[in-house]
Symmetry: none
Subunit: 238 residues, 4 copies
DNA sequence: GAATAACCGAGACGGTACGTCAGGTCTTGCT
DNA sequence: AGCAAGACCTGACGTACCGTCTCGGTTATTC
C-alpha cells in the first residue's frame, strides 16, 4: 500500500507502541536518505487534502473524483497519486487529518468518574464530522482490500476506540469497574454505535444520543449499575 | 426511486409500524391500470433480484455490474433497466427483498434466561450471509439516498435489532433486567458491533465473538451483572 | 427470404421470363391453399408501406426505425415483421412500390429513334426519388446478404435497366445500332451513373444531366456517332 | 465534423484543384497553440485508422464497432473518441486516408492507343481492395453527411475517375477521339459501373468484366467505333 | 351457431453497439 | 527529480434499436 519509496505520506501508518498513543499526525520524515533531485513540495499535501475535503463534503465519496480534487488543488493527478496510492487512501488521510484528528487521552481531564470523563470527552468537540461518512464511502473497498482496511482501522477507528479504552483503564484504576470485563470489547461499543447511526443516516447523532450512549450503555455496562444521575431531569423520558 | 409505473417492487417498504412484521414479500398489485401489450414477465423480477443479490455478495456494490447481473439472470440489460432505473435502485430492492433469513422472535425458544435466549438465537443459523456485506457495499450510497437508507434500515437492520429487542422484553417480563434501562438503545448494540466488525473485515465474526458479544456485553449490560458462566473454562483467558 | 407461407408480399419476386417484363406490381395471390382462420388484413400492407416511405423520407434509412414505422402505420411490430422479414426488405418493397413503380417499356412511345425514345422515357416522370437513396441505405447489407442483393437487384435495378435494354432492342430492330455491341452491358450504364451520382449526393441528378447521359453517352455509344442535335444550343458548353 | 481542436486529421481534404494530386498524407500541423500536458500520441491515429479500415472492410459500416476498432488498434475507446467524435467521422477519415492505392496517371505507360492504355491501367494492380466495399458500407451515411460524401468523393472516387480522364486526354491529343464528347462525363462511366456491380455483389468484378468495360463501353464510346480486337476469339460470344 | 385458427395492437424480451465517464498510469516540457 | 497538464487503457454506465415472442382480444372460415 505504501509507496515504494519511503517518502509516502503515511508510510508508517502510526503504529502506536502503546495503545493510547496520540493519533499521530501524519509524519513527514524529510526522507531517510538525502535524495537527489527536486524535493517534494510539501505544501502540495495540504492543498490536496484541503481540496479532497471540500470535494468530499460537496459530492460525497462516490461522486468525488480524483481529477476534481487535483484540479481544485491546482495540482496534477500524478502529484496526487504520487502521495496517495488510491482514492480510498486519500480519503482516509483526508479524514484522519480533519480538524486536529481524534481526541487524545491526555486531553480528557480526569474528573474522578467514568461518567464524568465521558462527559468531558464529549465536550472536546473534536471535529469528527465526516469520519464515519468517509468510512461508509470506502466500506465497499474494505471488503476487498485488507491493506485498506488496516489503514482505515489504524487511522480512523483505533484512535477513537483507544480514547475510550483509556478512560476505561482510568476507571479500572479507580476501582469503578465491575470485575471480569472485556474492556477491549466494551471500548468498541460507542464507536460502533455512532458509526452505524451515522452511516444509516436515519437518526441524528446529537448530544442527547451521545450522552445516552455514555450513561445508558457504557457506564452501566462497565460499572455494573446504572449511572448515578446528578440531575434526574436529564434522563430522557421514554 | 421506485419504478415509474406504480408497479414498483417495494411500493410500501417503510411503513410497518409493528417491529416484527414479516419481511414483506414484494407486493405485486395486479396492475392499477388495465395494461395493453405483452405483460411483464414477473418471473424476471425474481431472477434479476437473485442475480443481483449474488453479484452483490460476490463482488460488492462497486464491482457489481449491471451487465453481470443481467447475464447471470439470463436477461438483457434493457429488461433490468425497464424495472429499475439505476444500479442504486436495483440494489435498494435487492436489499429490500433480502432478509427472509432474518430470525423471527417466535423462532427463538424461551429458555428462561436472557443468556440462554441469546445462545438459542445464535443457534438459529439464519441466512444472514451477504446481508451485512451488502450493507457495506451500498454504505457509500446511503449518504445520498434517504430512500435507500430507509429501505436498508427497514429490511436489514430493524428486523435483526427487533429480535434482540424482543428477547430483552422477555427478560424484562421475567424480571431479569436492571431497572431504568433504555432497551431500544441497548438492542442496537449487537447489530452495530457485528456490522462494524464485518465491514472492517479485520477480525472474524465467529461463534466466539458472538458469544462474547452476548455474555460480555449484552447480558452484563442488561442484567447489571456478568453472565453466570456454566462452564468457567469457556471464558476466554485474557 | 420469402415467408414460408406463400402469402408474402414479394413471394415470387417477379421473375420476368422475358427480360422486358413490366416491373411487376407486388402480386397478391389470394393464397395458394384455402387457409383457415382469419385472413390477413390486406389493407395493412399499404398502410405500412406508406408509413415506411414517410419515415424513410423523414429520417433516412439508418435513422428510420421499425417501431416508428409500425407506430405511424398504427400497427404492431409483429404485423410488420409478419410481412417483411427485415428492415432492409421492407425498404426494398417500399421503394419498389413507390409511385407506380419503374417505368414500363410499353409506356415509352416509339419515336422512331433511340434518342427520341430516351427523351420520351425521361418525360415519363416516374417517381424514382428515393430509389437509389434507399439502395444506398441498404448497400452495406447487400455485401453480406446475397438474398437481399437478389431482391434489390430484381425489384429495383433490373426493371429500370430493362427499360433501357428494351429501347436498345427497339433501336436494334430499326437498324440504328452499331454492330457487335454488348447491349446488356450498355443498358446498365445509365442506371449506374444515376445511382452513383445520387448516392454521392454531390451533384444534382437533374434534367440536364439525364439528357447529357442519353445524348452524350448512350446514343453515341450505341449508334457509333454523336447524337444528332436538333437544337445545337442545348448542347452544354464545356 | 472535424476534430474539435484544429488538429483535425483531414483538415484540408477537398481542395486539391489539380485532379492528380497525391492522396494527401494527413497533415499534422504541430499544433496551432502551444499545448500543455502530454501531447497526443500521433502513432495512435495511424493505428486506429488502420484498424478502422480493416474492420470496415471486414464487417462493413453497420457491423463495424468502435470497440472492435479500439481493440484491434490496441487502444481504448476513449482514445478513439478523443480524436473522432463519432463512428461516422472516424469512417470519414478512414476513407480519407484510404486511396494510397489509387493508380496515378504517371504510372500508366503510354501505349499509343486508348485501348492499350486502359489495358495497361488494368494491369497496374492498384490496391483497391476494400475501397468500394468501404464506400458501400458508408453509402447510407452519405445521404446525411455532406462532409462524408465530399471526402469519399475526393479520396475514393475522384482519383480513380481522374486517371481515366487523363487517359482520355491522352487519346484526344493523339486524335483518337470523336469530336464533341463530354470527356468528364464519360470518364465517370467505368467507376460507376464497377461500384454498382461491387455493391450489388451479384456478379464478379473480374478481369473479363473490366476488359469488357474498356473494350465494349469506353473505347467505342470515346472513339466512335468498336475497339479493334487483336484476337477476335477474346470477344465474348453472345 | 359454435369452434377454430389465424389475425391484430401493444409492448416486453435477449442481445448488442453506442457514446460518456472515472480510476489509475504514463509522458511531455518546464522548473 | 518534482511538477501541471493531460493523454492513455480499462471497463461500467445508461440508452437505443433490432428482430422475436407473448399477451388479450378480434374476425373470418369451417363444422
Amino acid at each position: 500500500m505504501a509507496n515504494p519509496d519511503g517518502n509516502t505520506a503515511h508510510a508508517a501508518p502510526v503504529e502506536p507502541p502503546e495503545p493510547f498513543a496520540p493519533p499521530a499526525a501524519r509524519d513527514r520524515r524529510p526522507a531517510p536518505t538525502a535524495r537527489v533531485g527536486r524535493p517534494r513540495d510539501q505544501t502540495r499535501d495540504g492543498d490536496i487534502l484541503d481540496a479532497a475535503r471540500a470535494e468530499l463534503a460537496e459530492h460525497g465519496y462516490a461522486r468525488m473524483t480524483m481529477a476534481g480534487v487535483a484540479a481544485r488543488a491546482g495540482a496534477g493527478k500524478a502529484t496526487v497519486y504520487r502521495r496517495w496510492p488510491s482514492k480510498a487512501e486519500l480519503v482516509i488521510d483526508t479524514i484522519a487529518c480533519t480538524g486536529h484528528g481524534a481526541p487524545r487521552l491526555d486531553d480528557v481531564p480526569d474528573t474522578g468518574s467514568l461518567r464524568g470523563d465521558l462527559a468531558a470527552l464529549r465536550g472536546l468537540k473534536h471535529k469528527d464530522e465526516g469520519v464515519w461518512e468517509a468510512l461508509a464511502g470506502i466500506a465497499a473497498e474494505l471488503q476487498h482490500s485488507p491493506q485498506l482496511a488496516a489503514v482505515a482501522d489504524e487511522r480512523l477507528v483505533r484512535p477513537r476506540v483507544a480514547v475510550v479504552r483509556g478512560l476505561l483503564a482510568r476507571a479500572a484504576a479507580r476501582g469503578e469497574l465491575a470485575p471480569g470485563l472485556d474492556l477491549d470489547l466494551i471500548a468498541q461499543v460507542p464507536a460502533a454505535m455512532v458509526a452505524c447511526r451515522l452511516v444509516m443516516g436515519r437518526e441524528p447523532v446529537d448530544a442527547a444520543f451521545l450522552r445516552s450512549l455514555a450513561d445508558d450503555v457504557l457506564v452501566p455496562l462497565a460499572t455494573g449499575c446504572p449511572a448515578a444521575r446528578e440531575r434526574p431531569e436529564d434522563r430522557p423520558a421514554r
